[in-house]
Symmetry: none
Subunit: 193 residues, 4 copies
Amino acid sequence: MPKIGMEPLRRDALIRATITEVGRSGAKGATVSRIASRAGVSPALAHHYFGTKDRIFLAAMRHILVEFADGVRTRMATAKGPKQRLAAIVDASFDDDQLHPDTVAAWLAFYVEAQRSPEAARLLRVYARRLNSNMVHELRQLAPEATARRVAQGLASLIDGFYIRLALQDRMPAHSEIKALVTDYIALNLGRI
Amino acid sequence: MPKIGMEPLRRDALIRATITEVGRSGAKGATVSRIASRAGVSPALAHHYFGTKDRIFLAAMRHILVEFADGVRTRMATAKGPKQRLAAIVDASFDDDQLHPDTVAAWLAFYVEAQRSPEAARLLRVYARRLNSNMVHELRQLAPEATARRVAQGLASLIDGFYIRLALQDRMPAHSEIKALVTDYIALNLGRI
Amino acid sequence: MPKIGMEPLRRDALIRATITEVGRSGAKGATVSRIASRAGVSPALAHHYFGTKDRIFLAAMRHILVEFADGVRTRMATAKGPKQRLAAIVDASFDDDQLHPDTVAAWLAFYVEAQRSPEAARLLRVYARRLNSNMVHELRQLAPEATARRVAQGLASLIDGFYIRLALQDRMPAHSEIKALVTDYIALNLGRI
Amino acid sequence: MPKIGMEPLRRDALIRATITEVGRSGAKGATVSRIASRAGVSPALAHHYFGTKDRIFLAAMRHILVEFADGVRTRMATAKGPKQRLAAIVDASFDDDQLHPDTVAAWLAFYVEAQRSPEAARLLRVYARRLNSNMVHELRQLAPEATARRVAQGLASLIDGFYIRLALQDRMPAHSEIKALVTDYIALNLGRI
DNA sequence: AATGAATGAGCCTTCATTCAT
DNA sequence: AATGAATGAAGGCTCATTCAT
């Protein structure tokens, strides 16, 4: 019983199913069949909407990045001053939604997949640069240019590092503690301001 | 031209080929055929020596971890005092050998694979715990227990973060600069000692 | 030209192809490729419908056993008295359909395969017990319990023995003569009733 | 440490290993490697002595048939009169050695294999004919030619039938009971002589 | 006499993808 | 709009067999 206006719903369901499936079964285990079946549709429909598996993956990646960007933007809107705006970025990174195990695992899997997909790499680059320029822009108001660039590098690495460890290591600190560690990093680097 | 005593040579060649292949083609693209052919042998021989693809991967992972552990141990041997010993760990982490693009990529791929392989996860856990206990042990001589544990977490995350970014991001700082950033992290946290 | 409702047709074709192929090439020679190609489909489709080769084999075995059971049931329906019902079993066993060389050979091959497949063994056990209880039930009306059990054993063995010899020996008697030999066995054991 | 005069020992060990292995793992599961390893030698040596796997199997089959023939011959030597000589054949068939589960299973497996190996089929035919002519020869002294031929057929089938059922069915009667059933068959057919 | 080394051939199985309906 | 039907291509793995030592 085909209905009209189903397309956006199906696309969304498939994207969510992809993230969950990649998170749980890994990039290798996430077959089109499984993704489709999780979304409640046939594998053929997934191809109908996305063309290839790569494009399904790409769409899912884009979805994750957009959600993160939205999280940053929302928090930025109400933040006052560079310090609060830096905190907004950190907050968005360690938002409970973003830290859902499936999402973290999927993020990591996509991250790695990106090494072989130029398009995925481009996506990641765009996001990374935007994030970096955001950080540098705020940091520059608190420290010299060179320091700002340096701290931005460290900050991004620290965040990514916690992500990968959350995905793979057991015995990790609580989310709140992680956030505190990242915030500390900023404070330490800029001196007790 | 079959000779005797080939086994260790073949095993080694296959392990190296695995690391290179995983680094370049990813965990998915690294088929037994490609690995074997890179090692100059038939796929059947790879199975003859390792049994399954999983075990080939495991052996390669073990190889990477052992090499890293050796690097740490060697540097530790000549290091004097906790600060130098911490520096030894950082040094070993950013050794030029360890930072070879193929190795970094392979390390990352294995890291992710570990989410589905209990045995690989175990390997990683052992290595992570040893590293952590090493760090904590040194840090405890420079700061209170709680601080030591906290800094060790941040330190490990920072290192992992740089690794993943080295594998995936362009425009990364020079290795020396990265090492400086990590060293700074320790210094900042322990106060200018 | 894919049509709808193909599944039962394909399953059937594959099962028949399996029996023929196992009969002609043996259990070892009957590869999924050959079976599929005999059924006019790709090997992938065979897996699509049956999952594994084992399950294809199992389905084929079940088919043979069900056909035999049907033959018995049909003949039983119109048989009057225990002697006729015993004859019905013998008749069904040496029905021309059941005695088709491919079927006999397949039956034998499956019979042997069953030694390593618990599920196949279970299938065979069920069929053997049903057959035995059928025989004993009829024989008991013509002779004491102990005799009935004994003759049922001999009868089943005699039938199986002729089967295996039909599959493997040359210079076998005609089907009618075999049937007479089996019928004689009953008569001899129960006395000339 | 190669020794001289090892050949017959190795051949024998390999043949025995083949029978055991085929009995336990089936014709499919009995690989040259497993057979060789059970015999305590390398797979290469098995080929050195027998050339191909088929020839190893053939040798094992021949071994079983010869052992059976020896059993018959030995018992025949001391048997007096046709009835005792028929009993000798039955006795040899249900000798405890011949009924060892591995041997029965192997016998059956070879029996089936023979359908695809002309040489194995020839072996089997020779043995079957010799057995048949033995039986007929004795029976002819107790009954008319036609009866003798008929009973010989039934007798051989009954024996083969018990064999296959011993290999595959559970809940079989004791060996002694089986032997009695077979002996009864002869007596019933020849009248209470 | 015996084996470690090595491989070609082949099998089961999976999966992304296409197509007619 | 949606799917069942179907397959080509490829991958992991096994095994009989060969060969130099």
